[in-house]
């Protein structure tokens, strides 16, 4: 039987990890193995309610389960946040074009993340860390609204101890316990330990943060072709058919979600 493109497969919720007050990581076990490449996304079905697209936050090399790190923000996600271990959701995918790791090889990889945007970037970091001989350096600059909103807190600490890895986290608003940097993520995009002549940058976060991070990176001398952006748009089918996620001549679902700024720079209003 030929597969129906809109039909999800069953996936059981194995584990739920509360990352922040509004963000949870759901570890799912699909009924059949589902492998994805870092940056590709899946459509998650909350049965009887609907679908929403998410990029897995887990290590792509682990194929028997996958993790989605999701903020409680809309209809599907709020229902999902009220679900429990053992319940069943649906997934279909993976879809889209992820991070082109081959183009990062031998280079300094600068990763700029904002808020829950660190979710897809975590799967990218896992991919990079598993093959560090091939990359010159990994530099992560991450911004969250407050210390309580930082996702993967323990992992960030562990990763920063790795060789050839440099991590700085900032928060928009600190608190009494916060000893780190305070300010938007763009404020820590200076004095970077990155060789601009041999570097790529990857940005994922809310649109407003991506817009200003992108401007900053251009200022720093990154070529538009060396800035990789994870775009987000309203999406329904994930297959380049339903028409919702168009930007210029592209569909985010089919031609992205990862684009270089070079691909998008002549298109109007990409950050809206």
């Amino acid at each position: 039987m030929k597969k129906n493109i809109y039909q999800p497969i069953e996936a059981k919720i194995l584990d739920i990890i509360q990352e922040t007050p509004t963000i949870k990581t759901f570890v799912l076990k699909p009924e059949s193995e589902l492998s994805f490449r870092t940056g590709e996304f899946i459509e998650l079905t909350v049965p009887g309610l609907g679908e929403a697209p998410f990029t897995p936050s887990s290590d792509p090399q682990v194929t028997e389960s996958l993790a989605l790190t999701i903020m409680n923000v809309g209809l599907v996600t709020s229902k999902l946040h009220n679900m429990n271990k053992g319940e069943v959701v649906g997934i279909r995918g993976p879809y889209g074009k992820g991070y082109p790791l081959d183009k990062f090889k031998g280079k300094d990889v600068l990763i700029v993340g904002g808020g829950v945007g660190l979710a897809p970037l975590r799967s990218l970091l896992f991919s990079l860390f598993s093959d560090m001989d091939n990359y010159h350096k990994v530099v992560l600059r991450y911004g969250a609204r407050s210390p309580a909103d930082i996702v993967f807190k323990n992992s960030l600490h562990e990763w920063s101890k790795k060789k050839k890895v440099d991590i700085v986290t900032t928060v928009d608003v600190g608190d009494s316990s916060w000893k780190g940097s305070v300010g938007l993520v763009t404020t820590i995009l200076k004095d970077l330990p990155v060789d601009m002549k041999n570097a790529v940058s990857i940005v994922c976060g809310p649109p407003i943060m991506m817009k200003f991070a992108n401007l900053k990176l251009l200022d720093l001398g990154f070529a538009p072709e060396d800035i990789y952006l994870s775009m987000e748009k309203s999406m329904s089918c994930g297959l380049g058919k339903c028409g919702h996620c168009r930007i210029g001549k592209y569909y985010v679902c089919k031609d992205g979600p990862v684009f270089t700024y070079g691909q998008l720079k002549d298109i109007h209003d990409i950050w809206d």
Partner: protein, 365 residues
């Protein structure tokens, strides 16, 4: 291609034969007391045609439609407004026992639109199986347009008011009957079974048809010359250069956000997958959506890239004349004019395209 002649009085024998194997749809006239008066000598009809089930209409009602039907045939017959596309987690696809459809009265503008629908639902990342099933089984019986509505503008984009490909049968009214082109093997078999009423077309009949077709084109082009619609080669550059044109805001002043333009459009294809609650069977439906509707691009966080009406109008034109030309080489507009007829705000695609063209090439200062 084989061409036959069918006498007027035998038309129902033809329909009856088709109705044996198909759910046949035929054109019926919806009478309108109005005539569209142009600012020049033409007085064009305002009646419309609906494609209805042959089994449910009186024979006296069945007509040959002079121009395209009121419903967007390429879209309505191949993706229903609301259609089940799958259940959850089920292995078997449901097999429908209904007879396949046969659509009589579909026009060349609709056949052009089918190319756009095919691109969306059959190409790229996977095939939409519900669409594909209908596309494979539906019998297409197209017809020449001996007339046109005021809103018709197919020839502006070099689309003819008669079909030369993409059909099973094509009807061309001629004298006291029809010339019938047989476009596919399947249609050929049906024609074989109708030998008693189909006679091979003569050279004189074929050339008579050509003369008729040319005269329709000539009359339509005369009508279109008044509207000064830009050629299809200019469409992409004028929507790109007109991104910041005032025309978008200006035209949207009368928009009531009914979505008529997108739902009556033969080339529009946008949809939303929507899931029914568990108690209603957890079915996944594909429902028509449209970019002129307020929340089309709204995301869960509340951001809406198309928050203003003028942005939505502009988005529609960018999709039709930038995205589609880039990705298929075809503009996603067949010139059927259904969006013009349906719009209570009198927003006219012909005028908008003309304005964009003139702003680029004929600036006033």
């Amino acid at each position: 291609m084989e061409t036959y002649f069918l006498k007027n009085e035998d038309i129902f024998k033809f329909y009856d034969r088709i109705a044996e194997d198909f759910q046949l749809y035929v054109p019926v006239r919806i009478k309108s007391p109005l005539k569209a008066k142009c600012e020049y000598q033409f007085i064009l009809p305002a009646d419309d045609y609906l494609l209805k089930k042959y089994s449910e209409v009186n024979k006296e009602e069945v007509v040959f439609n002079e121009y395209r039907s009121v419903e967007p045939a390429a879209r309505t017959f191949f993706t229903y407004f609301k259609e089940e596309v799958c259940g959850y987690f089920e292995g078997e696809e449901k097999k429908k026992k209904d007879k396949p459809a046969a659509i009589c009265g579909i026009k060349n503008c609709d056949l052009f639109s089918l190319k756009i629908q095919d691109f969306v639902f059959l190409q790229g990342t996977g095939e939409d199986s519900a669409y594909k099933a209908k596309r494979e089984t539906t019998l297409i019986i197209s017809g020449d347009c001996p007339g046109f509505k005021e809103a018709c503008f197919c020839r502006a984009f070099d689309i003819n008011p008669h079909a030369s490909e993409g059909f099973d049968f094509n009807f061309s009214p001629l004298n006291n009957g029809y010339l019938i082109d047989v476009g596919t093997e399947r249609a050929g078999k049906i024609a074989q079974s109708l030998k008693d009423i189909l006679t091979p077309a003569t050279f004189g009949q074929i050339s008579g048809r050509s003369t008729k077709r040319e005269s329709v084109i000539k009359r339509l082009e005369e009508h279109l010359s008044y509207h000064k619609i830009p050629k299809k080669e200019a469409l992409q550059e004028i929507v790109l250069s007109g991104y910041n044109s005032e025309v978008w805001r200006e035209q949207m002043l009368t928009c009531v956000e009914c979505g008529g333009c997108v739902f009556m459009c033969d080339t529009c294809h946008c949809f939303l997958l929507t899931d029914e609650p568990a108690e209603e069977g957890s079915r996944r439906l594909r429902v028509w959506d449209g970019c002129l509707l307020k929340n089309f691009m709204k995301v869960a966080g509340g951001a809406n890239p198309l928050k203003m009406r003028y942005m939505r109008l502009r988005n529609r034109y960018m999709k039709k004349f930038d995205y589609f030309i880039d990705n298929t080489g075809l503009q996603a507009c067949c010139g059927c004019g259904r969006c013009i007829d349906v719009c209570p705000g009198h927003i006219d695609i012909r005028y908008i395209l003309r304005r964009l063209y003139e702003e680029k090439y004929l600036p006033t200062h």
